[in-house]
């Protein structure tokens, strides 16, 4: 049995569906991200697990026990809020010790555990500081320590890094990952930032319009998106139009590929810009014309048009000449790098 199981979890607000029949199983110690644009239902899902939003239908099973009927203050989950939600009238130590106090833990143990938690997040010596007098990154650490010190069964992170600047965010990402690994708490992260989700998670749950689009390891979700939405939401991608003959052959403009699984008729194929290459001279490929090229330091970003649709491709800045605007090019890629997109929801 998985550690946390969401079973047909549903919520709607006055007729508008926020989350529709969500199923998910999370293993003990796993780090799972709920990723999607705002309004996709990821935050509502987190709030239902936390107990701040009532569940319409479905179960939340933690070690087999249904949480739905448990009051939010009895669930024993650690939560880090987007705004940190620190108690402004309490010191760092009082903030962290609050949950222990609620559990009736005696003063001596409270102090030891608070100090341990502060050491864990690198806040030694800040015990008597008030949150207002700390930087965003430090407040973030207090919030994390406060959530972890109660040894929660589950750690819920609600866009915890979105208020930090880019550099600090990267630092906190690796630190968060390392802390989570060392204590092994099952963690659910809600984020709209694909980089954050990919950097931190064991698995990513991509959500859109209250539904799960795809669940998988970061490289799988990125490399083999299951739908046009996933393909477009995670990084840049090219969606090409082609035709399948229904017997494992797909033609894209001037290129013909072996791809199993497609029914006869029009198909959509996703391919990442960095996986597109220039075809060897005389080899088969997809003919295209360069529309624009933009220099980006480590690489060039080219846009081109072809019979199968508009394309973006990356060319490493390795000293080789780069085709100019208006030049004709021929592109190729490994069939394994392309994924056949599911019908339906387009991004």
């Amino acid at each position: 049995m998985s550690h946390l199981v969401l079973n047909g979890l549903s919520k709607s607000y006055g007729g508008v569906t926020a989350v529709q029949s969500l199923d998910l199983a999370v293993e003990r110690g796993e780090f799972v991200s709920l990723l999607g644009p705002s309004g996709c239902g990821k935050t509502t899902t987190l709030q239902m697990i936390a107990g701040f939003v009532a569940v319409d239908r479905g179960n939340i099973l933690l070690d087999g026990n249904d949480l739905v009927s448990v009051a939010p203050n009895k669930r024993g989950l650690g939560i880090v809020f987007q705004s940190y939600a620190l108690f402004p009238h309490m010191t760092v130590a009082q903030n962290i010790a609050f949950g222990l106090e609620m559990r009736g833990i005696d003063k001596a143990e409270r102090e030891t555990r608070t100090l341990e938690a502060m050491a864990l997040v690198g806040l030694k010596g800040f015990a008597d500081r008030y949150p207002r007098r700390m930087s965003g990154g430090q407040q973030q650490r207090v919030a994390l320590a406060r959530a972890l010190v109660i040894k929660p069964a589950l750690l819920l992170l609600d866009e915890p890094l979105s208020n930090l600047d880019a550099k600090l965010r990267e630092e906190m990402q690796s630190e968060l990952r390392q802390i989570q690994r060392s204590i092994g708490t099952t963690t659910i992260l809600v984020t709209h930032d694909q980089h954050e989700a990919m950097a931190l998670s064991d698995r990513i749950v991509v959500m859109n319009h209250g539904r799960v689009e795809q669940v998988g390891a970061p490289d799988t979700v990125y490399g083999r998106p299951a739908s046009a939405f996933v393909a477009s939401f995670l990084g840049k991608t090219n969606v090409l139009r082609g035709t399948s003959d229904g017997h494992g052959k797909v033609s894209l403009g001037s290129l013909s590929l072996a791809m199993a699984g497609a029914a006869s008729g029009p198909v959509q194929i996703a391919i990442r810009p960095e996986r597109l290459a220039f075809a060897a001279v005389g080899a088969a490929g997809l003919d295209a014309r360069v529309l624009s090229r933009v220099f980006q330091g480590t690489h060039w970003l080219l846009t081109a048009e072809s019979a199968a649709g508009a394309l973006t491709l990356m060319r490493h800045n390795d000293g080789h000449p780069v085709p100019a605007e208006g030049e004709a090019i021929r592109l190729s890629f490994a069939p394994a790098d392309a994924s056949l997109l599911r019908e339906g929801a387009a991004g």
Binding site: G51, F52, A71, P72, N73
Partner: protein, 288 residues
């Protein structure tokens, strides 16, 4: 207390006590007062709970009451206009001051609000009397030969009410000035506008809602003012509030006093609610 552990009934539990108190102590007494205005009264029989329109007919037809209501609203309009004329520029000056000066002037604006209106009116009675400082000063300056009559005149009442109510105007206008983009004057300057144009075309249109909401407060407080008109106006120069007081505590004709009070309440509610609606409709698109 919190949204998290709560049911749909929670807000009703939380507001329930206050609601009960207000039902018992506002709605019922006000209702009883309106009801009282339809009761009969006689010098010797006292209040007789029999339905009659006589008090209302008297209030609407007797020129004595008409004159008092007319005076009340005339004073209220004059006070409102005067507080606008003084308060709007003063709020603008206040807004342009350095923070230190501003809080000092703010103390001058707000401080008197917290002093009992009786003490403030007493000050004016001392100043405005026939041997008061104002008359002495004007005579010393050679502007007048004989002392001017301020006490027991409408002019006196208006002066005192301006003093009592101008803080409300200044605060309302200042609040809307604070919402202005501080760069907006510079923007207008860069486009070639002069100071007068900036005032009339850029600043004023943006603070009109503030001025109007200040005006509504000042008007309704001026029309229902009691202590200042009672002290400055004396027993003869009556306004609606002092009239109701006399009917209740001197003549003891409570039903007639209740009719006067009900009429004052209805007139003020109609005027304030009506002008609030008008302002909201007119300005809701431009602001907020």
């Amino acid at each position: 207390m919190s949204l998290a552990i709560s049911s749909r009934a929670t807000p009703y539990y939380l507001t329930g006590p206050a609601l009960l108190v207000f039902l018992g102590l506002v709605i019922i007494p006000l209702g009883m007062t309106v009801l009282l205005s339809f009761y009969d009264w006689g010098q010797y029989k006292g209040i007789v709970p029999e339905f009659t329109l006589k008090n209302w007919i008297e209030v609407f037809t007797d020129s004595y009451f008409f004159e008092i209501f007319l005076r009340t609203f005339r004073i209220a309009i004059l006070v409102t206009l005067a507080t606008m004329l003084i308060g709007v520029p003063q709020a603008y000056i206040l807004n342009r001051m350095s923070p230190g000066w501003r809080s000092a002037i703010l103390l001058v604006v707000i401080g008197p609000l917290l002093v009992s209106v009786v003490a403030r009116t007493l000050g004016w009675a001392l100043l405005l009397g026939s041997t008061g400082l104002v008359n002495q000063g004007l005579i010393a300056l050679g502007l007048i030969a004989e002392p001017l009559a301020f006490m027991f005149t409408e002019t006196g009442i208006v002066i005192v009410l301006i003093h009592v109510l101008i803080p409300f105007m200044i605060l309302a206008v200042w609040a809307s000035l604070q919402r202005l983009d501080p760069q907006i004057e510079n923007a207008a300057l860069s486009l070639g506008a002069g100071q007068t144009t900036i005032w009339l075309r850029v600043i004023l249109p943006q603070i009109v809602p503030g001025i109007l909401s200040g005006a509504i407060i000042v008007f309704s407080l001026a029309a229902s003012a009691f202590a200042s008109p009672a002290i400055i106006g004396g027993r003869r120069l009556k306004v609606a509030a002092t009239l109701a007081y006399d009917e209740f505590l001197n003549t003891l004709n409570w039903p007639l006093g209740a009719a006067v009070a009900s009429l004052l309440l209805l007139a003020l509610v109609a005027i304030t609610v009506g002008s609030n609606r008008l302002i909201e409709r007119r300005y809701s698109q431009v602001f907020e």
